[in-house]
């Protein structure tokens, strides 16, 4: 049924354990390494969110282990406000960078982009290995911040590197949120707990992460442009490839801006420059220039940091979610047994979202004192992202319409993605308007909005991808019954966590406060706060079912064949798991579009991309026959 041509593989299969599983240049091993990194990082981030929830619900409670581990930050086991704020910072940083950026792109993208375009490997295999190891070093550096700030001894030892490196605040890392706003983040130890060595490590970690992501993005783009197999035209690529490609372009153009900003911030801290530090600053009872620990600064612009940060920060949220959109489109078509509705529109929508994403960073800064005219421009551009987002949503619904849907766990999570994307995205239309954002900024409605749309929706995309591609990656199915338990509890759980947060936001509950007991207007909120915490504990607990399912199924799962889901794209044309060079030396030749399901007159209800001698009538799905 299919024809092939000889491929020239540039590196032989490694034989030793270290070259095969650790310092591997095989994109599949590197992809799994990225996923493992994300699986480790997400546990750290999740435990931190759990601690935050415990503090918010039962402030002043003695949590015995904490008192032992962090005698300064949680004396007698009671978290102090600085400890809470460092949890906020580290939770955000770890989740955004080391989970939402690594797993969707570095993990699944690395594993499946070369296979789906019919290549033996990435364009630059060594660079690929390097980008993973650089990212891992970034993760180790951010974890070091926990020890440098959390432990007196290590903190003092670290101070020998220079005055700005002093740690030991008793917190679990720096304080500054994942946005690290200047000028506090630029001043050093003088600005208070968590502003010393931990902040330096935070900046260094992110700079390292930027480098790793840039190397990865370069590799993705080159691979996609140059390594596609015979017949794999751009418009025959699966939507996943389009999503990974657009994500790579976003990363390529936005991470360097953060890197530049990070260098400036670090120079303010270690070289005493004044890029972001204004003159006449009065902090911690000291005036700038009045004390050897607080040298004179003049003329810097704290808002400049916000611009540089958010110019990166907004594309970053699309870096997190676009791969999930790609996976969702792919999985919905496969299990609805229908072509993706409006393939071309989907491709253009991905590009439109990516492109517009570069022009809307100002909507994070409406309360920074920007001109109302700029605010209107940013508002209009922000709301216009609703158009391609709606195109995607309606096309997903169009794909489902009239399909013979197979409710596998992967399909359930893909449907969950659509649901969460809509539920979280709809508040974006509210927050994107400057007049509405002004009162709502820095309340829980923002927390609810971005957690639903960029956090949980992206993670649902990755869950869907995991259940869908696990049989390909390990040759075994994940347990469907455990998967269903995982899906339904997680799905109900995340709504139970984040829906009440909208209500809290409308009550005026501010973000990043460690307790609300002092505020009369929030006395009625404690029931809701506790409800969210209980939901969070249940949702976190059920994730261990997922972890168990992954590791148990790797060894004990039911065996899967080459194409267990009756799907059409190239990864299903090769054994599960694929051999070292993906197609055993013979590259497939592509004859059809990626989603030719339910083709009239075809022998099966799906036509694989490599099938020859099958007529696909023009107008079936997106691409017709060639």
């Amino acid at each position: 049924m299919s024809e092939t041509h000889e491929g020239v593989h540039r590196h032989p299969a490694p034989t030793g354990f270290i070259r095969k599983y650790i310092f591997s240049i095989d994109h599949k091993v590197i992809g799994i390494q990225y996923i493992m990194l994300a699986l480790a990082a997400v546990v750290v981030g999740m435990l931190m969110s759990l601690l935050m929830r415990l503090q918010l619900s039962w402030p002043g409670t003695d949590w015995p282990i904490l008192g032992t581990l962090f005698p300064t930050g949680a004396p007698n086991g009671v978290m102090n406000p600085e400890f809470y704020l460092s949890l906020v910072t580290m939770h955000g940083t770890i989740m955004v960078f080391f989970v939402l950026t690594t797993a969707p792109q570095g993990g699944f993208g690395n594993y499946f982009l070369p296979i789906q375009i019919g290549a033996e490997d990435m364009a630059f295999p060594y660079l690929n290995m390097l980008s993973f190891w650089v990212t891992l070093v970034g993760f180790i550096v951010i974890l070091m911040a926990i020890f440098v700030e959390g432990n007196q001894g290590i903190g003092e030892w670290f101070a020998t590197l220079g005055p700005s490196f002093a740690g030991g605040s008793g917190t679990v890392g720096p304080i500054g949120g994942w946005t690290g706003y200047a000028p506090l983040s630029a001043l050093g130890k003088i600005a208070g707990p968590g502003q010393g060595g931990g902040m330096n490590l935070w900046i260094i970690s992110i700079a390292i992460f930027c480098v790793g992501s840039l190397l990865g993005a370069l590799n993705f783009i080159t691979t996609l442009l140059n390594m596609r197999t015979k017949g794999m035209t751009l418009m025959r690529m699966p939507l996943t490839c389009w999503a990974w490609f657009t994500t790579a372009v976003l990363a390529l153009l936005s991470f360097p801006v953060l890197l530049g900003g990070g260098i400036l911030l670090l120079l303010d801290r270690v070289a005493n420059t004044s890029f972001f530090i204004p003159g006449g600053l009065y902090v911690s009872g000291l005036l700038s220039g009045s004390n050897p620990n607080f040298p004179l600064h003049t003329g810097g612009s704290p808002i400049l940091w916000q611009h540089l940060f958010w110019f990166f920060g907004h594309p970053e949220v699309y870096i997190a979610i676009l791969p999930g959109m790609g996976a969702t489109s792919h999985i919905l078509a496969t299990f609805a047994r229908k072509p993706v509705f409006g393939y071309r529109a989907m491709v253009f929508a991905i590009f439109a979202i990516g492109l517009l994403g570069f022009f809307v960073w100002g909507h994070h800064m409406f309360i920074s004192g920007m001109s109302p005219y700029s605010a209107i421009a940013f508002s209009v551009l922000t709301l216009s992202i609703g158009v391609p987002s709606a195109v995607k949503t309606f096309n997903w619904l169009g794909t489902l319409w009239g399909g013979r849907i197979r409710f596998t766990t992967a399909m359930l999570f893909a449907l969950g993605f659509v649901s969460l994307f809509v539920a979280g995205g709809i508040t974006g239309l509210i927050l994107g308007q400057s007049s509405l954002d002004l009162p709502m900024h820095d309340t829980y409605i923002v927390t609810a909005h971005f957690h639903l749309v960029m956090g949980v929706a992206s993670i649902f995309g990755m869950f869907a991808a995991t259940y869908f591609w696990f049989p390909k990656m390990f040759g075994r199915f994940m347990s469907e019954s455990l998967g269903r338990i995982h899906f339904w509890i997680t799905f109900a759980g995340v709504y139970a966590i984040f829906m009440p947060m909208h209500v809290m936001g409308l009550m005026g509950m501010p973000r990043r406060f460690s307790q609300f007991t002092e505020y009369n207007f929030l006395v009625n909120s404690s029931g809701l706060v506790k409800l969210v915490t209980v939901a969070a504990i249940i949702t976190i607990a059920v994730q261990f079912v997922f972890y168990f399912n992954v590791f148990w199924s790797m060894f004990k799962g039911e065996r899967a064949g080459e194409n267990p889901w009756e799907a059409t794209t190239l990864e299903w044309n090769t054994p599960s798991p694929p051999p070292h060079d993906n197609f055993a030396g013979v590259l497939p030749v592509v004859h059809h579009g990626p989603y030719e399901f339910a083709v009239p007159g075809a022998p099966r209800d799906y036509v694989m991309q490599t099938d020859v001698d099958v007529e696909v009538p023009s107008g079936n799905g997106h691409n017709g026959k060639h």
């Binding site: 364009a123 783009i221 140059n226 015979k230 035209t233 612009s301 400049l304 611009h307």
Partner: protein, 223 residues
């Protein structure tokens, strides 16, 4: 030449049905036999270099925008006098671009000995540029102008330093080409690969040249 993708237009045959003729972009759409084409295969070096330079350009764009915003945000901006040696470094890097271009043409004409020689000259000129930059920094430091002295000096050290770090990468690439150039190659694929690698390093080096001119103008005209 360093073409990224062919510019043959896609023929579209009607709305919504997609291109009937496979498009021209990248390997995937090559119709003719003999696929994969070894020359197109090594195009990845050229494409990768352009893509990588896009990110380098974005980093310098972010620093430039910070420069422009900071220059207007306060009245503490005191423009540096231009160290005269920078004119020499500008001449050196312009010269290195020219010699590299000569080397690349020699390689295309399959003249491997002159190729090696001109590469060597390029490396020497690049090192000369770096030495001139270090001299300029020392000269300013000798006059008591350091990174934190004032915002313009901060940006001067930062931008020239970041450029020098990138330039060292280019020098490593050139040295690598030079070391490899002394190895005799007959195999067709390896020749194609050497040409692609030389193209990629040249693209990078010319970019560093243009970037320097841009930074020089930014630092000493926009102040």
């Amino acid at each position: 030449m360093a073409t990224m993708v062919s510019t043959r237009p896609v023929r579209s045959t009607g709305a919504g049905t997609g291109p009937k003729v496979p498009g021209p972009n990248g390997n995937g759409s090559k119709r003719h036999d003999g696929f994969p084409d070894p020359d197109a295969n090594w195009n990845r070096y050229r494409i990768g270099m352009w893509v990588g330079l896009a990110s380098v350009a974005m980093m310098f764009t972010s620093l430039s925008s910070a420069y422009i915003v900071r220059s207007a945000s306060s009245n503490d901006w005191a423009a540096l006098p231009m160290p005269g040696i920078l004119l020499a470094s500008t001449a050196l890097i312009l010269g290195s671009s020219a010699t590299l271009e000569v080397a690349r043409r020699k390689l295309k004409a399959a003249l491997s000995v002159p190729y090696t020689k001109w590469l060597f000259v390029t490396v020497m000129l690049g090192l000369g540029f770096l030495a001139a930059q270090i001299f300029a920094w020392r000269q300013l430091a000798g006059r008591g102008i350091y990174v934190a002295s004032n915002p313009h000096s901060s940006f001067f050290y930062l931008l020239t330093g970041a450029h020098a770090v990138h330039l060292v990468g280019g020098l490593l690439g050139l040295t690598f080409l030079w070391l490899r150039s002394r190895r005799h190659v007959i195999d067709k694929t390896l020749i194609a690969r050497r040409k692609a690698a030389t193209d990629a390093v040249s693209i990078y080096w010319h970019f560093m040249d243009a970037l320097w001119i841009y930074l020089f103008l930014l630092l000493f005209l926009w102040r």
